[in-house]
Symmetry: none
Subunit: 223 residues, 4 copies
DNA sequence: TATGAATGAGCGTTCATTCAT
DNA sequence: CATGAATGAACGCTCATTCAT
């Protein structure tokens, strides 16, 4: 974490250590930024809070990320990268499209639940009308993967005569994402509104069942 | 010295120019706060921005709302009240449950699209883990109305043998709200992600069709 | 305390009640001001804190005392008046000057201990270089009484051949006041400095003995 | 980001212009704070007044002292340190205890007269019930020196058969401090009260004589 | 006699950022 | 590669006070 306390050495042998230490500093700042932006939003998450959380110094943030917006862009890229990385591990059996679809739903709902920073940071970015994501080129490529997985499943399902052939993968992606995202994103106001604790495992589990049923009903050809 | 709520004067003779001016001040601050919080979030929406927008003074915000949090609570209550007021105008023909459901979906999706402040302010409140809404008692009553409308529609549909009888109104409320909310809330990151402009009327219209189809497919008994 | 909630009556009979209520308001503000100024000083004791403590309104302070300085002048006069009133109750037997002197010392030390507001408010006034007391005419007359009592005691003691005849009453007044005042006024820093709790009854009692001894040693003719 | 205490640089080569400038900034803030707190008290002495007096910026106060309270603690430590430093220069001839005692009295009375900030700042701290001094460890050690000097003098006097052996140095310290402090601290209200200008050199000189006489009378064994 | 509404200046503090070395 | 020093603007909030009835 807080490497870089070592004194400046003159021997070139130690350069490797310093580079590694520098990376560690950069990484700990990034991790701290995710935590802080997630909790306080962009304007509420101050440079000071972040550097303190990272046990580093304000100045280092400027050193590695230029300014606050640069740091936020890096944060955005990182959370998308993490989501993509997790999704890539989904081993789907395309021969069983219904099971694949259930797995995808399960993955998305659980990822959202277990990574609240993903949701709050995307909300922050949307509050700012997406002004950072447009600066980033890397994020765009991730959509391919996310929708590609659904596309393949739908194609397989249609080929087997199980799924309607006229359903667009983009709509199914939005459908699942909506149902997973809104539930998590708005769980505090919803809890007050509905008088029901959406954070309880039972309520969440019931919701997953409902989502699965709904997606399959809109996909599957009735017989 | 916070102003007493509503400031009901006992002698109606005195309900003169100043009281009217006072109400106007309070209201213009509230309206400005909705605008500013909606655009910048709670921490980004400064007292100064708000009082300037309201063409009033910082001090008056404290006079009428105590502090920034008090103002935010009032803002929350106001946007819920407005939603409720709009919903109350929905004239549903319960004899035709399918049409009713289409109307409800139409109303919610369009309300979210036309009132982006509703979404951004709720996101801000959820970022803060619902710490303001719990202080407010008035908001809770609004959920009754919102779900009540769906409940009646589902009952009518079930009575007529059109809708499945085992679907919970709360789930249908969450289903529609999710699909309307996420689309609007995340339209900027989604636009970058999907490479498609979700703000275009055509894309929105297609989405409304998809949502309607999905809701009805999950509700209606196949024949 | 919080009279003045009664509705405005048109019958002149009740005028007495209202005047009394007004006095009560004035008095409760004065009492609150003593408490607040004593605790927070002049600049730290805000109009708002005072009106809140008095369960009255800011505006009433201006109504009765003109402004903050006017209120502080009234406070100064009040604490001097109270001291004078208490001192007037001292029944001294001038035939026994030593006992009289012991009584005076006892009275002053205990008055300071039991009325910390007297000390803190005088300190505030001295911080401001006595700018309020010069506006007040009533306070000056009180010194007469305070020193007069000592004067009579010294005269009696000198007449009886017990006290030195060349000691000035003003010096004895300053001597006793210094020893009583400093002990109370600086008891917090002294406690930290000396590592001894000056608020304990035993330590205070020992101090009273020392003061009495010192005053009498400087007064009495050795035989 | 509060500055580290004293900022001792490890490589002496770097102790350059900026470090010296930094020390100057810190010191000029401290000096300004003493002046301003002395004149207006803690709550009346605003950060703005101080930074303006120091010809620095608000921000630097927070940089070097954390917050206003931190600055006040530093101010307290500084005025105690200065008193201690001055006292350390007192060259006493312990072989002549009476002369030593006269010198101590002289020193204390004149120090109080010539350093009014010492008195007003201690009054401010006592108004706040000693809440800052308890945070400071350095001040406690100063009491040792102050009382130690008196202790040695008393011991020498007792050894020579001049002073009573049963007098506690702490009491003599309090006696002298009281008589010097109260005279200065309350000189404005006393001047109004007594109708005599305590700031005139003659009156002060007479007071010093009276104090000296009083202290010696309570100390010395009558023959 | 009493009040709610309004005001502009100031409060202590934190903001993101740049400077010089 | 890293840091201590510095900056001006903004933050949420409170100040004593006056206005109009």
């Amino acid at each position: 974490m807080t490497a870089k306390k070592q004194t400046v050495s003159k021997s070139p042998r130690k350069t490797g250590v310093r580079v590694r230490a520098a990376l560690a500093t950069r990484e700990s700042i990034l991790r701290a930024a995710i935590k802080v932006f997630s909790k306080y939003g962009l304007s509420g998450g101050s440079i000071d809070k972040i550097s303190r959380t990272a046990r580093s110094h304000d100045r280092m943030i400027y050193y590695y990320f230029g300014n606050k917006d640069g740091l936020f862009v890096a944060v955005l890229e990182e959370i998308y990268r993490r989501f993509n990385e997790a999704e890539a591990k989904l081993a789907l059996d395309l021969e069983d499209p219904e099971a694949s679809m259930r797995r995808i739903i399960h993955f998305i709902l659980h990822y959202y639940r277990d990574h609240p920073e993903f949701i709050t940071i995307l909300n922050s970015e949307n509050l700012l009308r997406g002004q950072h994501i447009s600066k980033s080129s890397t994020t765009k490529q991730y959509s391919m993967a996310a929708i590609g997985v659904i596309d393949q499943t739908l194609l397989s399902g249609a080929r087997q005569g199980l799924f309607r052939p006229d359903v667009r993968p983009r709509d199914i992606y939005l459908l699942i994402a909506s149902l997973g995202y809104f539930y998590q994103s708005n769980r505090f106001t919803l809890t007050a509104f509905l008088g029901e604790n959406l954070e309880s495992p039972e309520v969440f589990s019931e919701w997953e069942d409902f989502v699965t049923t709904t997606v399959l009903r809109t996909l599957m050809i009735a017989r």
